[in-house]
């Protein structure tokens, strides 16, 4: 009742409120949405810890704590209201942690968090103003800065203790696919997450469960994940690099960061289009770029690059797909 829009006129009894639209409000807040994303990621985090050991959990924890810390620090330094309680920094930290290998040293997690929050998010104006997804931009920054450490993946069930770093490197399924050979892991292994990779990308099934939870909670819409994964599926089915079409397609879909990218990174509110048609176009662009980079690029994985490239085109996609105002007559071209 103490809304700014409310005007109380002496002629109207106290029990009636006069206010502008909107009159019906939903309980959803940034905090609640971010909490839903965290809940959807918990199974993935649990699986990552189970497969790669407690060190994986520690890496995620360092990312989360330092992201929240840097958010508070940056906002304090820039004289902005401190909004760490909206959990958006926590989500960035969790996503960044899940995008690191379990062998990542702690200082790399801290540097990545600082880059994500300070450079990509706060310098561009904070939540709602960043052009690029902070967690993904930080992942790409770390990949370019320390390529050796960022691609040092351990074998599944090679559980690391807190401080152990003398792990045995193992090839990820994508690295095998890059050389046009099927990986050692079977399709079922890859669906369940019994293969090498970053902490959060291995289990396609649990990421799917998290994604479906977000869909049910209406935190995300189906457009981006479906068009993203669909495009990858169609392209890899039409142009297989090796073996049977169907097998190759399924491997490409289950391998690497496609699931976590399609459900959790590409659907970031701030860095994806708001229109439905725009979202379909965005997902299509991401999918096409992923296949393009995986086939012809220097890196085995292209999900992060693809999403970042499409992030930079969101303003254009939104302008092209702006819906017609109700009642407006479609303009005739030519003349």
């Amino acid at each position: 009742m103490n809304d700014k829009n409310t005007t109380v006129s002496p002629a109207i009894p106290d029990m009636l409120t006069v206010a502008h639209a909107p009159h019906v409000r939903h309980k959803d807040s940034t905090t609640r949405i971010m909490l839903d994303v965290v809940i959807a990621l918990i199974p993935t985090l649990a699986w990552g810890t189970c497969v790669f050991g407690l060190r994986a959990f520690l890496v995620c924890l360092v990312c989360c704590v330092s992201c929240v810390g840097f958010e508070a620090l940056a906002q304090w330094l820039m004289h902005r209201p401190i909004t760490v309680l909206d959990l958006s920094a926590l989500v960035t930290g969790l996503l960044l942690g899940l995008n690191l290998p379990s062998t990542a040293p702690w200082w790399m997690a801290v540097v990545g968090s600082a880059f994500a929050i300070v450079v990509v998010k706060q310098i561009f104006g904070g939540l709602g103003h960043n052009v690029f997804n902070p967690a993904l931009a930080a992942r790409v920054f770390l990949c370019l800065a320390w390529p050796a450490q960022m691609t040092f993946y351990t074998a599944p069930y090679d559980r690391l203790a807190f401080s152990a770093v003398d792990a045995v490197a193992s090839a990820t399924p994508l690295a095998s696919l890059k050389h046009a050979a099927f990986p050692e892991a079977s399709l079922v292994d890859m669906l369940l997450g019994r293969c090498g990779g970053t902490i959060g990308e291995v289990s396609a099934l649990l990421l799917l469960v998290g994604g479906i939870y977000l869909l049910i909670r209406k935190v995300i819409t189906w457009h981006i994940p479906v068009s993203f994964i669909g495009t990858v599926a169609v392209l890899t089915f039409i142009f297989p690099q090796t073996g049977g079409r169907l097998d190759f397609m399924l491997y490409e879909i289950l391998a690497g960061g496609l699931m976590i990218g399609a459900f959790f990174m590409a659907t970031d509110y701030v860095t994806s289009p708001v229109t439905s048609r725009g979202r379909l176009l965005f997902g299509f662009g991401c999918g096409a770029l992923v296949v393009f980079i995986r086939y012809f690029g220097g890196y085995p994985e292209g999900v992060s690059f693809a999403i970042l490239i499409m992030n930079s085109l969101v303003w254009y996609i939104e302008r092209v797909t702006r819906p017609r105002v109700f009642g407006e007559v479609k303009k005739k071209h030519g003349k």
Binding site: L144, A145, W146, P147, A148
Partner: protein
């Protein structure tokens, strides 16, 4: 030409009107050759030498070059000096020649040199033009060394080739890559702008305060009358 005007020209070229950090000219060599401090010094001094020579010659010929073809004439003069500098570097600093490579001939199209020819040397006598070339060249070198210092320390863990942090330091290779050049340049330009804004605010505040004081002094004078 007084000593004061020369000092002002130097301050203008190196700080107030720095070709890279304030005018944002010559971005291509700035981004491409700042992977190490020695490259930056080499590039900066080569450009400075060309800048001084071309400024002097253009200033000498300023009344002789027809206005309609002046850009073409400037480019011919500049490329002549660049060729000379390139041959000198090849003869005496072959290692530097190898690492700078294509970017030495590209000094011809460095917009700082053309901008100084057009904006200064073609309108001023020889001595001020030579000093302008030196100060702008030093400003360019200063900016390159600043960027290269950050990039070399972060991206390679060294300064002028000397290891700084020992063997356990794993450098962030991104700062040697092109992406790191853009990041570093962006942050340095932002810092320079912040410092400039702060200095401007201070000067404005001082000017305003002086005005108020002068105003009040006048008032009291009037009252005395």
């Amino acid at each position: 030409m007084t000593f004061k005007s020369i000092a002002k020209q130097f301050k203008d070229g190196i700080i107030d009107n720095n070709p890279v950090l304030i005018q944002l000219l010559g971005m291509c060599p700035t981004l491409a050759t700042t992977t190490s401090v020695s490259n930056a010094i080499g590039m900066g001094l080569a450009a400075t030498a060309v800048l001084i020579c071309s400024n002097v010659l253009i200033s000498l010929l300023r009344k002789f070059i027809p206005k309609q073809v002046r850009i073409a004439a400037f480019i011919v003069i500049i490329s002549g000096f660049v060729t000379a500098v390139e041959l000198l570097i090849k003869a005496f600093f072959f290692e530097l020649y190898g690492s700078l490579g294509l970017f030495i001939p590209l000094i011809v199209v460095n917009c700082i040199i053309l901008a100084r020819a057009e904006a200064f040397a073609s309108k001023n006598p020889v001595l001020p033009s030579a000093i302008d070339g030196l100060s702008m060249g030093l400003g360019f070198t200063f900016a390159l060394v600043l960027i290269a210092t950050v990039r070399e320390i972060l991206g390679n863990g060294t300064f002028l080739g000397f290891s700084l942090f020992g063997e356990n330091y794993s450098p962030a290779i991104i700062f040697i890559l092109p992406a790191g050049a853009f990041l570093t340049l962006g942050f340095i330009v932002a810092a320079v702008q912040a410092l400039k804004n702060r200095a401007d605010d201070k000067n404005n505040a001082r000017a305003a305060a002086e005005e108020i004081l002068a105003h009040e002094a006048e008032k009291t004078k009037e009252q005395d009358k």
